[in-house]
């Protein structure tokens, strides 16, 4: 039995909750019924920084879902392999020590799971109270669910 860990990463900032919202939405899917041969967990985390490495420790496959700002249309789902993430070698701030930095640290320490996929969800992250253009979670969730299912099936 493989251990599969799905993590929604976010913060209280407007637009940065999309990882949490999608993780909650994904819980409604019958993962256990579709993949009885796997142990699948879905969790959310608030700005875990380097603790991300602990959150997916022991998993055979980790799926990390986080807000992204790349200029793509809001709601775009971008599937990213770890070596495609651009990492700043000089950390800007531990408040900003996000997924990319944590994964780079994990790679340097040999602590990444055997399989790891990051999903960036295009979102406008703003300060609380400011207007922003956000993707509708229901529209995004179906595409994300399909892609994660393919990730799980692809692992055998």
């Amino acid at each position: 039995m493989s251990r599969i860990c799905i993590l929604g990463i976010g913060s209280p900032a407007e637009g940065d909750r999309i990882g949490w919202e999608l993780a909650e939405a994904l819980r409604r899917f019958d993962w256990c019924g579709c993949f009885p041969q796997h142990e699948i967990t879905i969790d959310v985390a608030d700005r875990p920084g380097s603790r991300l490495l602990d959150l997916f420790a022991g998993a055979d496959l980790a799926v990390v879902i986080d807000a992204m700002q790349s200029g793509a249309p809001p709601g775009t789902v971008c599937r990213i392999e770890p070596d495609q993430l651009q990492t700043a070698q000089g950390l800007h701030s531990t408040h900003g020590f996000g997924v990319a930095g944590a994964l780079a640290l994990g790679a340097a320490l040999g602590r990444l799971p055997p399989r790891l996929v990051v999903y960036g969800i295009e979102s406008s992250v703003t300060q609380a109270g400011a207007a922003s253009e956000q993707p509708a979670p229901s529209d995004v969730c179906a595409r994300l669910q399909e892609s994660i299912a393919a990730d799980i099936q692809g692992g055998g």
């Binding site: 913060s11 950390l91 320490l109």
Partner: protein
């Protein structure tokens, strides 16, 4: 290069500090003409957000001021609010507040030592580079950080709202089985924390003694966290309400962060100041290890801050273990509140130094006025003074890159939580 060259240092983004800041320095004929540490995070206006809200909402609100030290904000807030309402939360709550604060110190200090500061002294640009050559040390730091976080979460926090603090105590009491498991983790971490103190003390730290005033809390019995009088190594000793007469905050035109002066002078808060003023309050095993490092405390060398943080991690583990080994599940996890109008003051030792709150409440418990003075604000004037002294003694015959790194290293000693300091670093060097 000539000592007489004119230098303008501009660090556009200060790396490895919390939040965003910039540093502008002008040097002419070997002397610093202008030095400005500019903080340009949007003003957080938390003090205004809190006005008009119920006292019960304050812990949740202030926890959002800082993602690294939410517990500290909650501790200073509940102390002030309980003062207004005449609430004595009782010994169980007081003990558990010390435990959760230990957790935050451990998490914050472990993060700073390994992710922010140590790369400077070992010649790396980041912890990611450092991890490839020092994996054991970085993993040890991450373990300690995770342990600190687990101590905080033990008090019932959900994964997206990490603390369970309320006015009067806690929302939840940990189960005895969970506390027993935590004690086992704390005991296992003691040798690691001791090794960390020795490792930090052996780092190639610059020797740069300066003249500054250390300010911290002082408690009759304990290494200070939650309570005490405000003292300094210049003879200051006053109760919390007197803070606003002794400390003046003011706006500088180039920064959104307020500066603060104690009786008109810059001062230092934080781990080095705390340790300088409370060596006799360390647990005996911690004092022994510190003495064995051979580093003399009180220290006037800001680079010893990394050692002070390691010492405080070790101290926090001993303190938490002492309190949790006596743990019993309580009859209630919080004391009841009787509302009344009034003014209250709270001052506790956040990881970065004293964090002072003042609240005014009406008879219905609605907050009418709020003032929050974070430790990083209090250190701003000292940081600028330090930069002047440090760079002047470092010498301007260095390259821009060397000067920039030295400036950033000086600032990082203070572990400035710039996100809090507005209620990193673009460096511009102007050489003429």
């Amino acid at each position: 290069m000539s000592e007489q060259r004119e230098i303008s240092i501009h660090v556009p983004v200060l790396a490895r500090v919390e939040g965003d800041g910039a540093l502008d320095i002008e040097v002419r004929e070997g002397r610093i003409e202008r030095l400005q540490l500019r903080i340009f995070e949007p003003p957080r206006l938390f003090e205004k957000f809190i006005e008009g809200r119920s006292y019960a909402e304050v812990p949740d609100l202030v926890a959002r001021i800082c993602g690294i030290c939410p517990v500290a904000y909650q501790m200073s807030a509940v102390q002030a609010l309980e003062g207004i309402f005449g609430c004595d939360a009782g010994p169980w709550v007081q003990a558990m507040r010390r435990v959760i604060y230990c957790g935050e110190w451990i998490e914050s200090h472990a993060l700073h030592i390994h992710l922010l500061a140590a790369p400077d002294y070992l010649g790396f640009k980041s912890v990611i580079d450092m991890a490839q050559q020092y994996p054991n040390e970085v993993n040890r730091g991450l373990r300690l950080q995770a342990l600190g976080n687990a101590m905080i979460r033990m008090f019932g926090g959900r994964s997206v709202h990490p603390v369970g603090v309320r006015v009067g105590g806690f929302h939840h009491a940990p189960r005895e089985a969970d506390v027993e498991a935590m004690c086992a983790q704390l005991r296992a971490a003691l040798p690691e924390a001791e090794a960390l103190v020795r490792w930090a003390a052996a780092l190639p730290l610059p020797d740069d003694a300066q003249c500054f005033t250390s300010v911290a809390l002082r408690h009759p019995d304990e290494y200070p966290m939650f309570s005490g009088r405000i003292v300094s190594d210049q003879g200051h000793d006053f109760a919390l309400p007197e803070f606003e007469q002794r400390v003046r905050e003011f706006q500088v035109p180039y920064s959104t962060a307020l500066h603060a002066l104690l009786d008109g002078q810059p001062y230092l808060v934080g781990p080095l100041a705390r340790l300088n003023l409370n060596l006799d309050r360390l647990p005996a095993p911690v004092r022994t290890v510190l003495d064995e490092t051979g580093i003399g405390f009180p220290s006037a060398n800001m680079y010893h801050s990394i050692v002070a943080r390691a010492v405080e991690i070790y101290t926090a583990l001993w303190e938490a273990l002492r309190l949790l080994e006596q743990y019993r599940y309580p009859h209630t996890s919080y004391a009841d509140i009787e509302l009344r109008a009034g003014v209250g003051f709270g001052c506790t030792e956040a990881p970065r130094g004293i964090l002072w709150h003042r609240y005014q409440s009406d008879a219905q418990g609605m907050i009418r006025a709020c003032r929050i003075v974070p430790p990083t604000n209090q250190n701003q004037a000292r940081i600028e003074e330090d930069l002047r002294n440090s760079l002047q003694s470092y010498g301007f015959q260095r390259s821009d890159a060397e000067l920039r790194l030295r400036a950033e290293t000086v600032v990082r000693n203070y572990d400035p939580c710039i996100s809090c300091s507005t209620h990193f670093l673009q460096l511009k060097i102007d050489r003429r």
